[in-house]
Symmetry: C2
Subunit: 283 residues, 2 copies
DNA sequence: CATTTAAATGTAGTTTAATTACATCGGTGG
DNA sequence: CCACCGATGTAATTAAACTACATTTAAATG
């Protein structure tokens, strides 16, 4: 947990002198991490051991260890007290906040994704005769992106954002088909039904969704991530960013599994785009 | 600059013993920040002053100061020495790296985006009678996503990923039309031509692209971001993540500008989705 | 190839910072 | 009003980091 937040939260529990220390640190954390225990004690107008006790109260080994933790939490961001956009925010402010919260969401996704499941999903994908990506609403864009990525691998790949088309493609699916269903909530009825239908037709179903959701239960492999829900109105749907990165991870695993010769092929796909572009003039 | 990167970059400049220190730190940075100078010296099999000299060479005041810098750069990410995926990477490793590099890309985009231009773009968007989003290839998914977002605002919005359709819509565009063109390189010929065509028809053109690109020059407002290029093969195209977040920023600015009554409307759009979902059972 | 010189590294001593043990102050309940 | 406990400070101790200097190693020149 973030040290600054922790100090803030414990303000009430501190003793009088410890609170003085806390306030000095909160006021100028950057100064604090560069100070010795003596300097900081003087700034807070307390004794050195009080500063030391303060550090211990925050579950650190001592003053140097505390500085380390503080330094990390400063680097980690929270340059904005809150990452939530307020109606009064300036363009500078909301721009920063949105990037911040997007990064925080990716971090949270990273912490919660299971690389072992990634690995098993890659297993399925590399053996697939055809791959289908399905997504509705905001996740449709992710499915499109996935198609664009996997298409380069020279695998039969298709993407649908229409439940009827999805149903139809399930009927024709078989052993060799891998369906990747993308849904943040994992509660979209249409998609959950399609997962079931696909499995009845012996297709493998990989879900990119939330833990313990109906969709996760209907899938062969549920690649789940914890992404903070978009509780307030302004907050963009960070989930689709995490989903895209998850697709990147699968694509990377796929590439790695396929070996060196396959990668030459990829390079050629990239080069094929060159003609459609204006030359970059080197200075 | 990130301390870990700095060490990596200077590896060649170090002396033999200093390199030993560098290697120990790079191998286990988390251990390093918790060690005393004596412990670290023993781990690297060098003397204490050597460690100290190593710290100074990296422009720090001494060992404690160095640890502080290192701690910050660890918090900032780069738990992996390199963010580049290697052929030998395990699932844990490449999963982590891809999330890391995505976050790093967003950070870089955040640093380089100009909030004043965001503000001007929002000006245009709020006054638009209709909004068109154009993107080709990987950026097509971003355009779709943008459509999905702005559609909720009850503005006439459309998205094309087909150059012919784009051209046609330019002809019918006029004063009140805002075109948002999305292209990482800003060198895709088809898209640059469309920017010019749109402007000839008095439409406003907002480009989400790279600085100093042909597309940026053809636009009314060029919202540019520095995103590390996908130099190596495994690296996913982080640019589309940055583009999506940029769209989020514009959408947020749009919402804020429209005021409170408009936001009620948004809430209703969200609620309209509820029926299509399975209820969340609270435990 | 020997010799000189400079750079690199280590050793031991010094200084500074952090911690501990203990004393004192201040408030609270009996 | 006093006894006790928690909070705080003082002074001594310990540990860490740094400096000055000695030694080694490598490079360069005659």
């Amino acid at each position: 947990m973030n040290t600054i937040d922790k100090i803030q939260k414990n303000l009430a529990n501190f003793s009088k002198s410890e609170r003085k220390v806390a306030e000095v640190i909160l006021a100028e954390p950057q100064i604090a991490i560069q100070s010795s225990i003596a300097t900081l004690a003087k700034m807070a107008d307390v004794s050195e051991p009080t500063v030391n006790r303060f550090c211990r109260r925050l579950d650190t080994k001592g003053f140097p260890d505390f500085k380390l933790h503080l330094a990390q939490s400063l680097a980690n961001g929270t340059p904005y007290v809150s990452r939530h956009v307020e109606a009064s925010d300036s363009p500078e402010s909301y721009t920063g906040k949105i990037f911040e919260s997007s990064m925080a969401a990716l971090d949270s996704a990273k912490q919660s994704i299971d690389p072992q499941l990634v690995n098993r999903a890659v297993d399925l994908l590399t053996q697939a005769k055809q791959i289908h990506f399905f997504g509705l609403g905001a996740s449709a864009a992710v499915a499109h992106d996935a198609q664009n990525k996997f298409f380069r691998f020279n695998v039969p790949v298709i993407c649908f954002d229409d439940p009827l088309m999805m149903r139809m493609s399930c009927i024709n699916a078989g052993e060799g088909t891998v369906m990747v269903l993308i849904s943040h909530t994992g509660r979209t009825k249409a998609l959950v039904e399609i997962a079931a239908l696909a499995r009845q037709n012996d297709a493998h179903v990989i879900a990119i969704t939330t833990k313990d959701s109906p969709l996760a239960r209907e899938s062969s492999i549920a690649l789940t991530m914890d992404v903070p829900e978009d509780t307030d109105l302004y907050m963009p749907m960070a989930s689709r960013l995490a989903q895209m990165v998850a697709i990147d991870v699968l694509a990377t695993g796929f590439t790695l599994r396929r070996g060196a010769r396959f990668r030459d092929n990829l390079k050629r796909v990239k080069e094929a785009l060159r003609e459609s572009r204006y030359e970059k003039v080197s200075l």
